[in-house]
Amino acid sequence: MALIRIRGASFGYSRRAVVAGVDLEIRAGRFFGIVGPNGAGKTTLFRGILGLLKPLGGTVERSGATIGYVPQRESLDPLYPLTVQEVVEMGAYRRLSGWRSLTHADREAARTVLARVGLAEKESARFSSLSGGQRQRALIARALLTKPNVLLLDEPTSGVDRAAQARILELLRGLHREGLAILLVSHHLALVRQAVDEVLWVSGGAVRHGDPRELLRPDQLDELFDTHGAPEDD
């Protein structure tokens, strides 16, 4: 079942397309990775899929999707004295309006997702005091509280150490095994190669779509990076 369906779409800024001719279906239970050289339009495509950018042309249907969004943790200001619990509970705000407060069930659900990502004991800690990997997992917990059927993550392993990367990857694989569709943008090719079912290769304003074992083969990568700078790998 297609959760998000994109047909002939182009995305960009100020009417200038950065990526064009995008045809894509995000289906239930699939794991997608967006990769490509720096500046090729990975983030533009990601924001278009997410709905933060309106398509300049073509169509994007998200009627089947309940999106859980995990931003880059660097985009969140550490000045806010929010606790981990307060950040995670934001995931329950979708259906709350005005003065209506969180229910006991909402708070229990927040504790459950925190335990799911291994941060049960950090509930009362300041969000800004967590390590990079822990903050990333807290943001995944917040996205899970929205009860999504597709999880979209922006560079979830950027700037965290290898142990934290492995833990985040393990968590995402576990969620994938439970049936959640996942789409992440990453410049860590090794991570993408290990985890995903399908790769969206963004380069030169176009999107190639394929099997990671095929598209991310070393000889294939040499060809793909022939005219572009290589992204980080590890």
Binding site: L50, L52, Y69, P71, L79, L82
Partner: protein
């Protein structure tokens, strides 16, 4: 003849109550300005409001003859600055919202936020003195307004500031969650389907109302202090967002209480005394790192 503390408090009860209400409400707005890294708005916007009030005096003779001031004569309006409160409030609000929207609009074009706000403050400050020179009430009124000599606040000003800041506090309580969400993680709020632009606009309106009402009633000096300083004093001690808001308000009210004491005990201007006490509240924060 010396008068007792009780008599002073009774004599100035309207002014003191207005200051206490501002002490409670202004830091709440200050928290959002601080977290959005726009604390300088808390200094620039009251200066716009002050310029608006003084501009209202420049225009008053023309206004009285062409539009009218209700039952109040021009002489009454010029001799008693509290006689046409709504007229002054309207000019304060016009300049505050004009300045606020100009800053927001220029902010969307990029560039240096600090430079923009500093330039806005310099312009508004100069305009206040130029308008003061042109106004029929002259420089003394401008000096009084800027110093925060609020003891002449009457029942009408108290009612006005109570209603307006009451609405501000109520709006923050009701929309607290959404205002924090939109400020902390705008994109996540968009994905959740929140009306982000509406909440950002609401926050700007709350800032404008607080600044316009506060400047007109209490003067810009006390408003600078109550918007900017209590959140800075409270931030290191706040272990959650709720506690940050509550602690900021408490520091604001304490600054007013302490400022009243200092002002009455040593005959200092009340506005400056409140700001001085609010500044002293920053000292404990210097010893805490969070």
């Amino acid at each position: 003849m010396d008068i007792t503390w009780g008599e002073r408090i009774d004599l100035f009860r309207y002014a003191l109550t207005a200051a206490a209400i501002a002490g409670l409400a202004c830091p709440l707005i200050g928290v959002f300005l601080f977290l959005r890294r726009t604390s300088f708005y808390g200094i620039a916007l009251p200066q716009f409001a002050a310029a608006g009030v003084v501009f209202g005096f420049v225009l008053m003779p023309w206004w009285a003859s062409h539009v009218g001031l209700g039952d109040v004569t021009l002489e009454m309006a010029l001799s008693d600055t509290h006689a046409v409160m709504n007229y002054h409030l309207a000019w304060a609000a016009t300049f505050t919202f004009g300045g606020l929207f100009a800053l927001v609009w220029l902010g969307r074009r990029g560039g240096s936020e600090i430079g923009r706000v500093a330039a806005a403050f310099a312009i508004a400050n100069a305009a206040t003195y130029v308008f003061g020179r042109l106004s029929p009430v002259g420089k003394s009124f401008v000096d009084e307004l800027l110093a925060g000599e609020i003891l002449g606040v009457g029942v009408h000003e108290l009612e006005t500031i109570s209603v307006l800041l009451g609405i501000v506090v109520a709006a923050i309580v009701v929309f607290y969650r959404d205002l924090v969400l939109v400020s902390f993680d705008r994109e996540f709020a968009v994905v959740l389907g929140k009306r982000v632009v509406a909440f950002e606009s609401l926050l700007n309106v709350l800032v404008g109302v607080t600044v316009a009402a506060g400047t007109m009633t209490l003067g810009p000096t006390i408003l600078f202090g109550l918007i900017v300083l209590p959140p800075l004093a409270a931030r290191p001690f706040a272990s959650s967002m709720n506690r940050f808001l509550v602690a900021s308000s408490l520091f604001g009210v304490l600054a007013v209480v302490g400022g009243v004491y200092v002002s009455f005990a040593w005959d200092f201007p009340l506005g400056a005394s409140v700001v001085a006490v609010a500044a002293l509240e920053l000292i404990p924060a210097l010893f805490v790192r969070r």
